[in-house]
């Protein structure tokens, strides 16, 4: 081993060359910035985040013959499958006037959160090459992922609206549909926070991705994706807890607006607003606190 790098190993000879340096004009490299400066630095990279997310989304289907037609085609096939099984074969109504519509809204909006969670799980390993080449704030990588998932939802949500109109029993556009983008914006904020949170969590403990998969499955049942919560859950405490769940609130708001033509009560909007802002703030601060540990071997 090297004995020569430590002056104490050879007490008889001073084994070090003292070099005086003025650090004026130099700044520490590779240290985490304070939150405010971090946000400003992150803002400098907003064009990169947008361009990267868009480019990766638009090139993902390059190998396919139909190319980007799949951005719409995939959700259409998904929705058609559910309609075929539940609407045509089972003719399920679950006591609802428009069960196929209920199911399609549930499946599509749940897919937004589920795919964001998956994106968060793989964000730091998938972005490893980027992290090893550029010294930008590390939040660039998960935020680009979150934006890609959001952009991916736009064609999916348009096909969802088309299916609601086309498939019987038809849900026709009403004024209340104009508020749906508000739900999507709140869902986007909530999901972005989730991506940031899961990105850090699984970059340190990759094993947690197994647990997260289980949580996703629980969320399917606990958010009323396929059935109405109050019809199957009779225990009032459990029902109260589950209706606070953000994914349930997202689905319920969208269903009221799209199927029932009702403007949802203010307390539900406020609840989702708290979840959205809370998720983003907690996710961001948690991710930022781990800034120095990403992209290592």
């Amino acid at each position: 081993m090297s004995t020569w790098d430590s002056p104490t190993d050879e007490p008889t000879r001073e084994r070090v060359r003292r070099t005086q340096v003025s650090l004026a004009g130099l700044h520490p490299v590779g240290r985490r910035l304070p939150l405010g400066a971090y946000l400003r630095e992150l803002a400098r990279y907003r064009a990169f985040i947008a361009f990267e997310a868009r480019s990766r989304l638009l090139t993902a289907n390059r190998g396919m013959i139909l190319g980007n037609a799949w951005l719409v085609g995939r959700p259409l096939i998904d929705g058609a499958t559910y309609f075929l099984f539940f609407g045509v074969i089972l003719q399920a109504s679950r006591g609802m006037a428009n069960y196929p519509g209920f199911l399609i809204i549930g499946v599509f909006l749940f897919a937004f959160t589920a795919s964001s969670m998956r994106a968060g799980l793989g964000a730091m390993t998938g972005g490893r090459n980027l992290l090893r080449a550029f010294a930008f704030p590390r939040a660039v990588v998960p935020l680009s992922m979150a934006l890609r998932e959001t952009l991916n939802q736009i064609p999916a949500l348009v096909s969802m609206a088309v299916m609601l109109i086309v498939l019987p029993p038809h849900a026709l556009p009403r004024w209340s549909w104009l508020l749906v983008p508000g739900v999507v914006v709140l869902a986007t904020l909530f999901n972005s926070g989730l991506v940031l949170f899961l990105a850090r969590l699984t970059s340190h403990v990759p094993d947690l991705s197994v647990v997260i998969g289980m949580i996703t499955r629980l969320l399917v049942y606990g958010s009323g994706v396929m059935f109405s919560l109050d019809r199957f859950i009779t225990h009032p405490q459990w029902l109260a807890v589950l209706t606070l769940n953000p994914v349930y609130v997202i689905l319920d708001l969208a269903r009221q607006l799209l199927l029932d033509g009702i403007i949802p009560p203010v307390h539900q909007w406020a609840l989702l607003g708290v979840w959205a802002v809370g998720s983003l703030v907690v996710g961001f601060v948690y991710f930022w606190a781990g800034e120095e540990g990403y992209g290592r071997d």
């Binding site: 005086q20 340096v21 090893r132 930008f136």
Partner: protein
């Protein structure tokens, strides 16, 4: 930058590496072949990738880093670039050092032109700066109309030229080149070599990592030899490169005793640097960097 320009401007430090150590903990499977329930319960080994490395580099220097595989060359570069945080010690630098490795941000399915935009954005340039820099990048890359084709259709030479042109466009004050990243071959040829020279003249500092002592000798003013994560030589590029070549030749020929002797001689002669931060506004007439043997 903040120091007044003057005759000592040539000794303006741009990179100060202060006693940096980097450790990697890896799982070791040597020893018993017993099956373990948990992967983590096996013995772990700590690899000292860098051990108390100190280095002061001034404006205008082109520093070559030589050393065998696994000696810590690429790790040192990543630490200087701020891509990894050392276990102890600190790097100080002027501006944002840029590692010539934009290939990481590029998307093979995207056209060369869009990749130029993507690469420049990744280095933190604004849209306006990109619009201004793009014509230069295209002419330096010199790949003509192929710029509109997806990058995955490029030959490796064309790809390397484009990557180098993108990285050089950021006008970094500190440019880090790792030959292992596949951009070095392009960097050492023709127009690209001229560009490195230009960057250096812009009071820039260039670091070049290479296995080939020849490359270091030809293109660097100073060379640093890393062995097992520690510096064992630092001086004018021809001197360091020649010793390193002699050692590498001995290793290649299987003359291990001789190779060990070269290392032992180097270690005996080498005096490590200790960085002492000089308080500012004191004794401005003193040299910016003063080396003294105590």
């Amino acid at each position: 930058m903040t120091e007044p320009a003057g005759p000592r401007d040539a000794l303006r430090p741009t990179v100060v590496v202060d006693s940096v150590s980097v450790n990697y903990v890896v799982r070791s499977e040597s020893g018993h072949r017993r099956r373990r329930l948990f992967a983590g319960s096996g013995s772990t080994e700590v690899i000292h990738a860098l051990q108390k490395v100190s280095l002061v580099v001034n404006a205008g220097e082109v520093v070559g880093i030589v050393g065998q595989n696994g000696s810590g060359k690429s790790t040192l570069l990543r630490i200087i670039a701020g891509l990894e945080t050392p276990a102890s010690g600190q790097v100080y630098a002027v501006g944002s050092p840029i590692l010539l490795g934009v290939n990481a941000a590029l998307i093979p399915e995207l056209s060369g032109r869009d990749n130029v935009t993507l690469g420049l954005l990744a280095m933190g340039m604004s849209r306006a700066e990109i619009a201004e820099a793009t014509p230069d990048v295209l002419s330096l890359a010199g790949i003509g109309r192929a710029i509109n084709r997806p990058m995955k259709t490029y030959s490796s030479g064309m790809g390397a030229r484009l990557r180098f042109a993108i990285a050089a466009a950021a006008h970094p004050e500190i440019l880090l080149i790792d030959e292992a990243l596949g951009t070095g071959d392009a960097a050492s040829k023709g127009r690209s070599a001229e560009r490195i020279e230009q960057l250096r003249e812009h009071a820039g500092t260039v670091f070049l990592v290479s296995h080939a002592a020849q490359t270091i000798e030809e293109s660097c003013s100073r060379a640093v030899w890393l062995h097992d994560g520690a510096i064992i030589d630092d001086g004018p590029a021809p001197d360091v490169a020649r010793t390193y070549r002699w050692w590498a030749w001995c290793v290649a020929k299987g003359e291990h005793a001789r190779a060990e002797q070269v290392l032992a001689d180097r270690r005996a002669a080498w005096v490590p640097v200790q960085v002492v931060s000089r308080p500012e506004r004191r004794d401005r007439s003193a040299a910016i960097v003063r080396r003294e043997r105590s």
